[in-house]
């Protein structure tokens, strides 16, 4: 233990232990989230969901993962091989790296950077590059269509996301995530900026390609979108990246608006996880209630409604701060 504490003191040691912890967290999180999604959707639809394997189907996801690992990795002939093989990795990597700066509790944070929030926003944009790589390299007309739409959607919804986050940063005066959490000791920011919270949740749902904005992936109209040509474990990487992305945006939401790890009796980590999973439940609730938005309405919604509203929010925040 002494050695571990000493090791944790050094920078490199902290990083390595942190990365191992993050890998474990990502795996467990994905397993839990897939089970949660199936159970939440089932109960909203008046049915039971997985019940056979384990207690109420708890081990179902493990069995599904094992099945996926046993599938053949088919690579179509005419694909752009390096890009095709890199795409699942590129979609997963930034999500991993974002975990460096997320404060799980007052002491558990791998690297407390003073531009933490900026790092998160920068890295989540790399996922768009990965989607484009996947769609283009598949040599499939439908994949390219799906990828182009996804890129347009992601870029359009980045802007209100950034502006909304700016209004919080303006209030606190720093990009450091631990500072933002520390500024919410007396009241949470969701109470003073409810509009920002709503805008952030909507933009986050669109960023992670979840319903009602799930055109890139659930094209029941034509085909499966940009990951049509991926099978087996490669497809699982896209899936994993999506669920981990959900965790990330919910973590950022809880840090920015819901007070991070603050809470009465339980330890900070438990409160943090509770808040994160509450927001994930909210996103799942959206998915199983609303129909899909048509593509042109999606873009016009972002440009004509979300951006003006987020600008208005920023202006009002600035005005209030001045006064």
């Amino acid at each position: 233990m002494e050695l571990l504490a000493q090791y944790l003191g050094t920078e490199v040691g902290r990083l390595i232990v942190g990365l191992i912890g993050v890998m474990a967290l990502v795996a467990v999180n994905a397993l839990f989230l897939i089970w949660m999604e199936r159970k939440v959707s089932a109960h909203m639809q008046l049915r039971l969901g997985p019940m056979e394997v384990g207690w109420h189907g708890f081990i179902q996801t493990v069995c599904d993962a094992l099945k996926l690992m046993g599938k053949e990795l088919i690579t179509p002939e005419e694909v752009d091989r390096p890009v095709y093989l890199l795409a699942p990795i590129v979609v997963f990597l930034p999500v991993f790296l974002v975990f460096l700066v997320v404060p799980f509790s007052s002491s558990i944070i791998i690297k407390d950077m003073n531009v933490g929030l900026l790092l998160i926003l920068a890295f989540s944009t790399i996922a768009v590059l990965a989607i484009l790589m996947a769609g283009w390299s598949s040599n499939n007309k439908y994949s390219v269509l799906g990828a182009i739409r996804s890129v347009a959607q992601n870029v359009a919804y980045e802007i209100p996301l950034l502006i909304t986050v700016m209004s919080i940063v303006l209030t606190v005066g720093s990009f450091r995530l631990t500072d933002i959490v520390a500024a919410q000791t007396s009241y949470w920011f969701v109470l003073t900026q409810p509009l920002a919270f709503i805008l952030y949740i909507v933009c986050a749902t669109a960023e992670t390609n979840r319903s009602p904005f799930d055109l890139p992936e659930a094209e029941s109209e034509l085909v499966a979108g940009f990951h049509t040509e991926y099978s087996g474990m490669r497809f699982a990487m896209f899936f994993l990246a999506e669920y981990t992305n959900m965790f990330i945006v919910s973590a950022v939401a809880s840090v920015l608006f819901l007070g991070g790890w603050h809470g009465p009796l339980l330890p900070g980590l438990i409160w943090f996880l509770l808040k994160v999973y509450a927001i994930i439940f909210l996103m799942m609730w959206f998915r199983w209630t609303f129909p899909r938005v048509r593509f042109d309405q999606l873009i016009s919604f972002a440009w004509k409604i979300l951006i003006p509203l987020s600008f208005a929010n920023l202006l009002i925040t600035a005005l209030v701060l001045k006064l």
Binding site: Q45, L46, S211, S220, R292, F295, D296, Q297
Partner: protein
């Protein structure tokens, strides 16, 4: 088929026979320019089973189960149409209680068909829960009909001259409970679907059908009622026990997808009214006519009978030449005409709109291909 025409910049896309949406085996050949469709052509025939040919080789009794399979979602109305046509040929009058029973069961089946349509349509649009709520309601109807007819989907319950089995008290109590329950559920459907801004944006202003198009293409059913023409065979050429009931025909004003959806939703409410009145006024009496020949051998004649099904006007035309087997039975199905207007509606729309329009037509492909 992927062709890139560099000069015109259009390419072909195939909404293939294997479809994620639940219409059946329909193939739509699209010619697209970027995101917009310039030409759409439905290709049918994947489900041809030869019902009309079967009719020439079976006698009148043996053809009864076929009618349930032509359109399996409103099988009782097709069954009723066929039985009424043969009764016309033979000159049999159906006793009143049997007519009331036929109306009650057909209206239940109409509600079940519309419920399935609402669920499947929203599944096309991407909402995954309303279909399960609709199927929960539909399960109640199917259980009720199962008590009487013994089947859940492809009923073969009406016979020439009446029906095979009578109602019992449990059915009547069950139907009244169901009517009450469904009326309460309409409010949930309103909140979840009808008033939802995402659904309204996808359905309003899409797929306009004008009154001239209705006449030109021979559209029937909720398609014309959504465009404002109050044509319903139950009111224009009343048959069976319908003249005894008081119900309205819901119509829309503009003829877009939202109007057709609202027409079908309100039709369910009107069907509930009809069932209630029929249960209140149910007369006593026999359920089968007295003199029904065991060997049906009509005189040499022709007959046409039309009934109003959930999709529109189903017409059956029988030519008999005095034999035990009909010479020719022609089935006029509503989905064939309803689908034929798709090429005109699909021009200059997005693929997402095409799916919405196709869903709003409520086509059942097996009945187009027969």
């Amino acid at each position: 088929m992927i062709e890139l025409d560099i000069e015109e910049k259009t390419y072909h896309l195939n909404l293939g026979p294997q479809h994620p949406s639940t219409h059946g085996v329909l193939r739509v050949l699209l010619e697209m320019q970027g995101e917009y469709i310039t030409k759409a052509e439905p290709v049918i025939g994947y489900g041809h089973r030869g019902h009309e040919h079967m009719a020439e080789n079976r006698n009148y009794h043996q053809f009864l189960p076929n009618m349930g399979r032509v359109d399996y979602l409103h099988a009782l109305a097709y069954n009723q149409g066929y039985c009424m046509a043969v009764e016309k040929l033979l000159g049999i009058t159906v006793p009143e209680r049997a007519e009331y029973l036929r109306v009650i069961l057909s209206e239940f089946n109409r509600i079940a068909s519309h419920l399935l349509w609402v669920g499947a349509y929203l599944l096309d649009l991407g909402a995954f829960t309303p279909i399960l709520y609709c199927f929960d309601d539909r399960e109640n109807i199917l259980d009720l009909l199962d008590r009487i007819t013994g089947s859940r989907l492809t009923y073969c319950f009406y016979r020439f001259g009446g029906v095979t089995k009578d109602l019992d008290d449990e059915f009547i109590a069950g139907s009244r409970a169901f009517i009450k329950r469904l009326r309460g559920r309409f409010k949930d459907y309103d909140n979840l679907v009808t008033k939802n801004v995402i659904f309204i944006n996808r359905a309003r202003g899409v797929g306009f059908i004008s009154k001239e198009q209705c006449l030109l293409y021979g559209l029937t059913g909720p398609m014309v009622r959504g465009s404002g023409i109050p044509y319903d065979i139950r009111k224009s050429e009343p048959y069976s026990a319908y003249p005894a009931f008081d119900f309205e025909i819901p119509i829309g004003d503009t003829g877009d997808v939202m109007d057709r959806y609202l027409v079908r939703l309100r039709e369910m409410g009107q069907s509930l009214r009809i069932i209630e009145q029929a249960l209140d006024k149910l007369p006593n009496g026999p359920i089968m006519a007295e003199k029904v020949p065991k060997r049906v051998k009509p005189a040499e004649s022709e007959v046409y009978q039309a009934v109003e099904t959930a999709r529109g006007e189903f017409g059956i035309y029988i030519v008999s030449q005095g034999d035990v087997k009909p010479y020719r039975i022609k089935l006029r199905v509503p989905s064939f005409g309803n689908l034929s207007v798709l090429p005109e509606l699909a021009v200059d729309t997005l693929v997402a709109d095409l799916v919405a329009i196709l869903g709003s037509m409520d086509v059942v492909i097996p009945e187009i291909d027969r």
